[in-house]
Amino acid sequence: MTDIIIKLTAAEIAEKIASGELTAVEVTEAHLARIEAVDEKVHAFLHVDREGALAQAREVDAKRERGEKLGPLAGVPLALKDIFTTKGVPTTVGSKILEGWIPPYDATLTKRLKDAGVVILGKTNMDEFAMGSSTENSAYGPTGNPWDLTKIPGGSGGGSSAALAAFQAPLAIGTDTGGSIRQPASVTGTVGVKPTYGAVSRYGMVAFSSSLDQGGPCARTVLDAALLHEVIAGHDPLDSTSIDAPVPPVVEAARSGSVAGMRVGVVKQFRGEGYQAGVLQRFDESVELLKELGAEIVELDCPSFDLALAAYYLIAPSECSSNLARFDAMRYGLRVGDDGTKSAEEVTALTREAGFGPEVKRRVMLGTYALSSGYYDAYYGSAQKVRTLISRDFDKAFGQVDVIVSPTTPTTAFAIGERVDDPMAMYLADLCTIPTNLAGNAAMSLPCGLAPEDGMPVGLQIIAPAMKDDRLYKVGAAVEAAFTERWGHPLLEEAPSL
């Protein structure tokens, strides 16, 4: 029974719970058993909240017995990235500096999930403070890619993507600052969406780069991602950057997938040196498929995209150097060296040295450098100009097309250890995902096949204008349906059993 339940989609689970065919407790127990069976190998979870999950499941079942109406995801299990605060449940952000911290409050996103009856199974592994593309920067050890455990599951949200691909949860939450939802989705054959900036509340989400960070849904199907998107998105008075406007009709779009008559852009800057042949092959096939499905393909030139990576690695570190100043060892988290002889400043420096890993230290120093007098205009100031140019390129592009498509990442999953001490090589994983973060618009990654040379999943990225998130789902659902028909089954059926 466990084997059948864990393969169900979130939409199917919710339907079976609503109809009484399954109970939320049965579904939760099946997923907890799966975690128990495979997570020693995968290491997707930093913390499994068995009691909390079962209590939430029992509540959903009791509600149903009382005849109360259940929400569209009531009783469906979910893996939550360890960057969102959970009242009474540890939240580490993958860092030693928050080891053992128990937040006294729920993030708005956590609260919305609970209110919707979603069952939070536990907290997933991630690159420390969401800085990385492989989850190897976690202070708690790497996560394996369920397709090949010697390879990375992407990052920073590699725990969430691995949990989905290993059938430990049908839904997960990620955060995307430069690609941390989409790149993990791409390399694990799952679906991930970075909503429009400001669509999902950042209250209670540990800040990395505040003008770029955005929480979003991760799932195994486009419809499941849409159902989750609708639960977590919407205005929050506790986040001053939260958009006060109706959530685009994403579920409706996912249920009516079509690209007929749509104009789809292909950006010439999203290919070339550094792109794996098998990735480009699957991407070109996806473009052919879109044509067959009735889309018109438009070639686009976005010259400023060539500077996006450089601008990002100035803006994100600058904001993080400021955001991470709050980890000062005074009010919460780790404190090291407080032996009564040292000043507060010395204790802060000793704590940060002990509590932060190498990538966090690199970025904090890089940001401090970019913001320092003498370099500010040349680095941070220029990066902000690039940001304007990228937004202009997108505006021009979206004057001609409805959506843009590209490979999500230039390569498939690389080996654990391969790039961990070569920061620039690691940063290249985000080449295609970063422009969207800088402009604040919306994007999705969904599977488009396996690369012939290594048999690893390839992701197709779809990009839409801000607040047109529904277009991602409309196009994504059409592509997903056509590929599933062509393959005869969902791509994850081809993943090895763990």
């Binding site: 911290w101 128990i102 006294p104 409050y105 900036y197 400001g198 003008s211 008075p237 001053s240 500077l307 450089a310 601008a311 690695y313 100035l314 150097s321 100043a325 060892a329 005074m330 009010r331 919460y332 988290g333 780790l334 407080d338 009564g340 000043s343 507060a344 400043e345 010395e346 204790v347 802060t348 420096a349 940060r352 040295e353 932060f356 190498p358 230290k361 690199r362 904090v364 120093m365 890089l366 401090t368 450098y369 320092s372 040349a378 680095y379 100031g381 220029s382 990066a383 902000q384 100009k385 690039v386 940001r387 304007t388 140019l389 937004s391 920061p423 620039m424 800088l438 604040g440 801000a466």
Partner: protein, 98 residues
């Protein structure tokens, strides 16, 4: 653009409140030099007459009525404190002895 020296990294570490070890200084100096060399490309646009973008949304201050609302209790607010005394965060000395 000039490269970054070991001394500059030591200075950045002090500004960043990171008590780096000597071997870390060497390693980071090498890596930061490579990263800064790569990202310096953005200065290609330094002379272009375009306004900077600091944020994807046109931000304005968000205000609410100044009324008392439920919030954390002192016990909850102090629950993660490394040290506390008399319902306050206890910190190492901030000012010198004299």
């Amino acid at each position: 653009m000039p490269g970054i020296t070991r001394e500059e990294v030591a200075h950045l570490a002090r500004l960043s409140r990171l008590e780096l070890k000597a071997e870390e200084l060497d390693h980071f100096a090498e890596q930061l030099d490579v990263i800064i060399g790569a990202v310096a490309r953005v200065s290609d646009v330094a002379d272009e007459d375009v306004p900077p973008t600091s944020h994807p949304l046109p931000l304005t201050n968000v205000m609410r009525a100044d009324v008392v609302r439920p919030s954390l209790t002192p016990q909850e607010a102090l629950s993660g404190a490394p040290a506390q005394e008399q319902q306050r965060f206890k910190v190492p000395q901030i000012l010198g002895e004299d």
